[in-house]
């Protein structure tokens, strides 16, 4: 019980840091909203597909799930920043000198990161609703989408942990998030992969983001539902990523703080 109280106290601190920091809000919420508006209202109507030009509403319907995952990926840079700042200022050392169970310290960063990513995702989702996006899915599928988001947030948070613990400063700590953004841009998140150059298309179709985005799209819109095979591939990527990055985070953290 004490550990849970400590976990919530530390989690609340980090979520509050994010919500009261203008830079974080601009990067993680305002920027994805701006990109959504830009892509939908400026580029969306000009995107040609095999079946002709897309309408802005059709592009919104297609791209919103991708933008939601993009929002979470942008949030991961701030996960790194918070962990790295606590590491470099000595706050983690202060916490380690207190009578707190060690898992609580890193656990609070992970929990706060996932909560903040989901809050940011919800904000962009509501903007999408205001722009005319409508969910066409069963309640179960809709909840499945949030479950997938949670798992996606957890996996990329755990990916952020070792980078942020090892980085010399927060600028380099957040650099890994560019890899995530690049993977999302070169996937089916914002454009169908069919029209991509051959080599890019092969990469896009076989990297983890495409099945994850396609599954997210299908969970929000039954008309875009994907095959069970694609959903399983997405689940495998997410679960495997969570396990691998979770173990890696634990190893780095243990070496830095518990066995030094």
């Amino acid at each position: 019980m004490t550990s849970l109280k400590q976990l919530f106290a530390l989690t609340r601190r980090i979520v509050r840091q994010n919500l009261t920091n203008a830079d974080t809000i601009i990067t993680v919420i305002a920027m994805p909203v701006f990109m959504l508006l830009f892509f939908v209202y400026i580029l969306g109507g000009n995107i040609a597909t095999a079946s002709g030009a897309m309408s802005t509403s059709a592009y919104l319907r297609y791209s919103l799930p991708g933008f939601l995952l993009l929002t979470m990926a942008m949030g991961s840079a701030y996960t790194s920043l918070r962990i790295n700042t606590d590491q470099t200022t000595g706050f983690l050392s202060r916490l380690h000198s207190l009578p707190i169970r060690r898992w609580v310290i890193l656990g609070s960063h992970v929990l706060a990161s996932v909560i903040f990513m989901l809050l940011a995702e919800l904000c962009v989702f509501l903007v999408g609703i205001a722009m005319g996006y409508r969910v066409h899915a069963t309640f179960g599928a809709f909840m499945g989408f949030w479950g997938l988001s949670l798992l996606f947030g957890l996996a990329i948070t755990l990916l952020a942990v070792p980078f942020s613990l090892k980085a010399d400063n927060y600028a380099s700590a957040g650099s890994f998030s560019y890899i995530l953004l690049m993977l999302l841009f070169v996937s089916s998140a914002l454009m169908p992969t069919a029209g991509m150059a051959k080599l890019v298309r092969i990469f896009a179709n076989h990297q983890p983001m495409t099945p994850i985005v396609n599954t997210a799209r299908g969970l929000l819109n039954s008309a875009a539902a994907v095959s069970t095979h694609t959903a399983i591939i997405a689940a495998v990527w997410l679960v495997a990523g969570t396990i691998v990055f979770g173990v890696l985070s634990q190893v780095v953290y243990t070496r830095m703080y518990l066995r030094k």
């Binding site: 109280k5 106290a9 707190i100």
Partner: protein
């Protein structure tokens, strides 16, 4: 039972040996100061004592407990104030303190925070955001965060670095009050006047070894005693001639002649026998600075050898 017992502690990072067999002990209720230059191993030792790091070899007891096997019990009774301040600048001072109170599970946290704020003279700025604080206010808040929960043993790692003279003196007073309240304070500093003014015991650390330990008075006594004789300005040449003729070692600075205590009496007698007018003769007062320079110099020679 002593507050801190350290025996032959060694610690290396890769091939770099930072602590090379440190032994020291601190009594309960005293201010024990570890004095050393940057890179001497002060923070490494404090991290081991505060359960943040493990020694490669040697034994450590904190309030009678092994910090590795009884880490949680140790952490319940200690607090660490690190060199760098760990404050949330966007939050108020009260928010920062409240977080620590929650983590330590302090009942009636608000009353404890108010009480501490009054003791440390922080009531006027406690509700303001920390980013508006001066350096001294921030350091005071940082130390207050270390005092919540009433720990028995407080590690202060260079607490006055970067603090202006007025706030420095006020922090000294806070540290003295902690001792007066029966707490043990383990202090590291680079400032010799601070060590001299505050400490019950001082240990000099240089090159990963404790090279001198004792009360400030004991340390000053243990250094090589010297005596200085002042002579009339017109007789300086006579004095040099007579002392040289007698085969005595001395150091001359203007009209002053300094002797090691082993030859001081003979030096004085030689001057008097040569009819040199000795205007003053006194034992030299050792200061910590000269001792510090002396021991760090010896350690440098030791490492070279």
């Amino acid at each position: 039972m002593q507050a801190i017992e350290v025996h032959n502690v060694q610690k290396s990072f890769g091939k770099l040996a930072v602590l090379k067999g440190v032994t020291l002990s601190a009594d309960r209720g005293e201010i024990f100061t570890l004095l050393g230059e940057n890179g001497a191993g002060k923070s490494t030792l404090i991290n081991i004592l505060a359960t943040l790091s493990r020694a490669d070899a040697g034994t450590v007891r904190i309030l009678g407990l092994d910090p590795q096997s009884k880490g949680k019990q140790v952490r319940e009774q200690i607090s660490l104030n690190a060199q760098s301040m760990t404050l949330d600048e966007e939050f108020s001072g009260a928010d920062n303190l409240r977080l620590i109170a929650q983590l330590r599970g302090i009942p009636n946290a608000n009353a404890a925070i108010d009480n501490l704020a009054q003791r440390l003279g922080m009531t006027t700025f406690l509700q303001r955001k920390v980013k508006t604080y001066s350096g001294g206010m921030k350091r005071r808040l940082d130390i207050a965060m270390s005092l919540l929960g009433d720990p028995e043993l407080i590690f202060l790692d260079e607490p006055t670095t970067g603090v202006d003279p007025k706030n420095r003196l006020e922090l000294w007073q806070i540290i003295r009050e902690l001792r007066d309240a029966g707490k043990t304070v383990f202090l590291t500093t680079q400032y010799l006047d601070e060590a001299d003014a505050l400490s019950d015991h001082i240990a000099f650390i240089a090159g990963g070894r404790i090279v001198k330990v004792g009360t400030p008075a004991q340390i000053k006594q243990r250094v090589r005693e010297t005596y200085t004789a002042s002579v009339a300005p017109v007789q300086v040449a006579d004095a040099v001639q007579s002392l040289t003729a007698a085969g005595l070692d001395f150091a001359q600075h203007d009209t002053r002649f300094t002797f090691d205590h082993t030859v001081a009496a003979r030096g004085l007698q030689t001057l008097l026998n040569s009819n040199v007018e000795v205007t003053a003769y006194q034992r030299d007062e050792a200061d910590l600075e000269s001792i510090f320079l002396s021991v760090t110099d010896q350690e440098a020679h030791h490492d070279v050898a």
